[in-house]
């Protein structure tokens, strides 16, 4: 059951990703991206990480993408015209070869490093909020706080850039 869910959600995720880059209208692309993020949440759920799955939906699909859509709809995101030129012969090659190289490299690396593969037997409490909190608030507290400072800086930067030039407080 979990294996089926894992591959099904993975397929949905890939479909969404392809749709995102293939669609011409910005709103459609955003919708495909939402589908892709939901697929990723499904993958998290299938590998016994319910907290990550829920956070994926809550933060990315539920908040970040809502703001994306909001802005795209407000600014009437562009709709690209259809491609008239026939694709050159090297376009599919350029698409497939790097993907294949990355895939082979990843498989070889996983084999070499003898990482534990996908198994349904997760340790007790794995992926539950309590365990996540222990990691975030204990072991990785410093990194966690650093990231929040990065976000704060980004927020202030966005505010500073978005403001009218002449009304900047330091001018």
């Amino acid at each position: 059951m979990e294996t089926f869910l894992f591959y099904f959600c993975g397929a949905v995720m890939l479909l969404g990703a392809v749709g995102t880059v293939a669609s011409r209208s910005a709103v459609s692309a955003a919708c495909w991206l939402i589908l892709s993020l939901l697929g990723l949440a499904g993958v998290f759920a299938a590998v016994a990480a319910p907290f990550l799955a829920v956070m994926q939906v809550l933060v990315y699909a539920g908040a970040v993408m809502v703001l994306f859509l909001f802005v795209i709809m407000m600014l009437e995101g562009p709709v690209l015209e259809g491609e008239t030129r026939r694709p050159r012969f090297w376009v599919p090659v350029a698409a497939v070869v790097p993907a294949a190289v990355i895939l082979i490299a990843a498989v070889v690396w996983v084999r070499r490093a003898a990482l534990p593969g996908f198994s349904s037997a997760a340790p007790e409490g794995f992926g539950q909020p309590m365990r996540m909190a222990e990691l975030l608030m204990g072991k990785y507290l410093f990194a966690f706080e650093l990231i929040s400072i990065v976000l704060l800086v980004a927020l202030i930067g966005a505010l500073a850039l978005g403001r009218n030039e002449r009304k900047l407080p330091w001018k």
Partner: protein, 426 residues
């Protein structure tokens, strides 16, 4: 595997019937309640063979009207998203229910069935995640219709829902701290205790400010007055569903009421003890199951017969008023009430006071589910009550309230709760 799926399916069906039934009753309640508040009569015309049930037949007539209406759609719509948006709202409303407990357990023989579809460890986060997707139904629906009014409605709704989601999360965090769990069954279980031996440890008692914030945020999330920015009639026609008709409109309409039922269930579960009856915990109820059942049957039977006689008096009084099928109504209802009352009294012959331990357990489970539904009804009615009593906010007022008042208040609530808990548990 199969019994598990069957059990889950039965609970899902229970919730499905509960929601759809409530949607019908709430639409009726909205019309009849607004009429009551505005001193009107309200809907009373639709009838089946003269039986009007105070307007309850109207929703049935509505269903047929909406099913057979022409589906008018704007020609410049986005074909897929236009059809997809109403469906999404309904799916989101229906999915949220899976983690809400409607009782603690049901014991039949040796088997114990928990009365919740999926008792997730992350419980409440799941509800927040799924309900955050509800925004898309409204945003995409308004955008895909390709009309200025629907677009304005969906923009307003999106801005409002995103703003108030944060307050909702902050308000809930205080509650999670107090009960030490995200799991809804734990939160409800914790509310069965008493503080100082007499005060029920309900969420509203330990988190009064959190309750007010949550209540305000959830009214904004369901887009109900005073936060009906997305469908303000006097400004933007009907908001995001202006361009929808027939069953697609009906889905939006039903989704609004289904969201109301979810919201009412959440308020009852998180802040008013869910299925818990204050001062009457399960062991006490089980110990006196026989006498309580007998008392309920006698009281219910007598009340029902009394109501029946009232109907008969009305039938005598109204004789010759209408000269059509409507005159049958009080007589039919009165007969039904008297027969129901006699059945309740007649069941005393089965000796309900000898209900036994197993039967008592089932009876208590039913009573607790009844308590949950009772609280749900009250908070659903509160939505209607507020809508027809309180004037709605202007757009800037909504944003001001959300970002400058409720968000800081939520932070203060969280910090105070954390400090207080740290002081108590030190």
């Amino acid at each position: 595997m199969l019994p598990v799926i069957l059990e889950a399916l039965l609970k899902i069906i229970f919730f499905f019937i509960l929601i759809m039934g409530f949607v019908v009753v709430l639409i009726w309640g909205e019309r009849k309640g607004s009429a009551f508040i505005q001193d009107r009569t309200g809907p009373n015309r639709a009838s089946i063979g003269g039986i009007r049930l105070a307007g309850l037949v109207h929703p049935v007539a509505d269903v047929f009207k909406l099913l057979f209406k022409e589906d008018v759609a704007p020609s410049q719509r986005h074909p897929f998203l236009y059809a997809f948006a109403p469906w999404l709202g309904m799916v989101v409303a229906m999915t949220t229910y899976t983690v809400i407990p409607f009782g603690d357990f049901l014991q039949i023989g040796d088997k114990v069935y928990p009365m919740v579809v999926a008792d997730l460890e992350i419980g409440m986060l799941f509800v927040l995640a799924i309900s955050s997707l509800a925004t898309y139904g409204i945003a995409l629906g308004g955008w895909a219709s390709n009309s200025k009014y629907t677009f304005l409605g969906s923009m307003r709704a999106t801005a409002q829902m995103v703003s108030y989601e944060i307050t909702m999360g902050l308000a809930l965090m205080g509650l999670f701290l107090v009960f030490g769990s995200l799991r809804l069954t734990d939160i409800v279980g914790g509310q069965g205790e008493l503080i100082w031996g007499w005060l029920p440890k309900w969420g509203v008692v330990v988190q009064p400010l959190g309750f007010l914030l949550f209540m305000g945020a959830i009214y904004a999330e369901t887009n109900r007055t005073p936060f009906d920015m997305s469908e303000r009639d006097s400004e933007i026609v009907a908001g995001y569903h202006t361009e929808y008709s027939s069953m697609k409109f009906a889905l939006f309409f039903m989704a609004e009421y289904a969201h109301m039922v979810v919201a009412a269930a959440l308020i009852a579960t998180l802040y008013f003890g869910g299925y818990q009856i204050p001062w009457l915990p399960r062991p006490v109820l089980e110990g006196h199951a026989g006498p309580i059942l007998t008392g309920l049957l006698v009281a219910g039977g007598l009340c029902s017969i009394w109501i029946g006689t009232l109907y008969f008096r009305r039938a005598r009084r109204e004789k010759g008023w209408y000269n059509d099928a409507r005159e049958r109504e009080p007589g039919v209802l009165g007969t039904a009430a008297v027969v129901g009352g006699l059945v309740m009294l007649g069941s005393l012959l089965l000796q309900p006071w000898n209900i036994g331990a197993g039967g008592g357990s089932i009876f208590v489970s039913l009573i607790q589910t009844g308590a949950f539904i009772g609280k749900l009804v009250f908070f659903a009615w509160l939505f209607i009550w507020v809508r027809w009593t309180v004037p709605s906010f202007r757009y800037d007022q909504v944003m001001h309230l959300g970002w400058k008042i409720m968000l800081p208040a939520g932070l203060v609530n969280l910090v105070v709760t954390a400090l207080w808990l740290a002081a108590v548990h030190r």
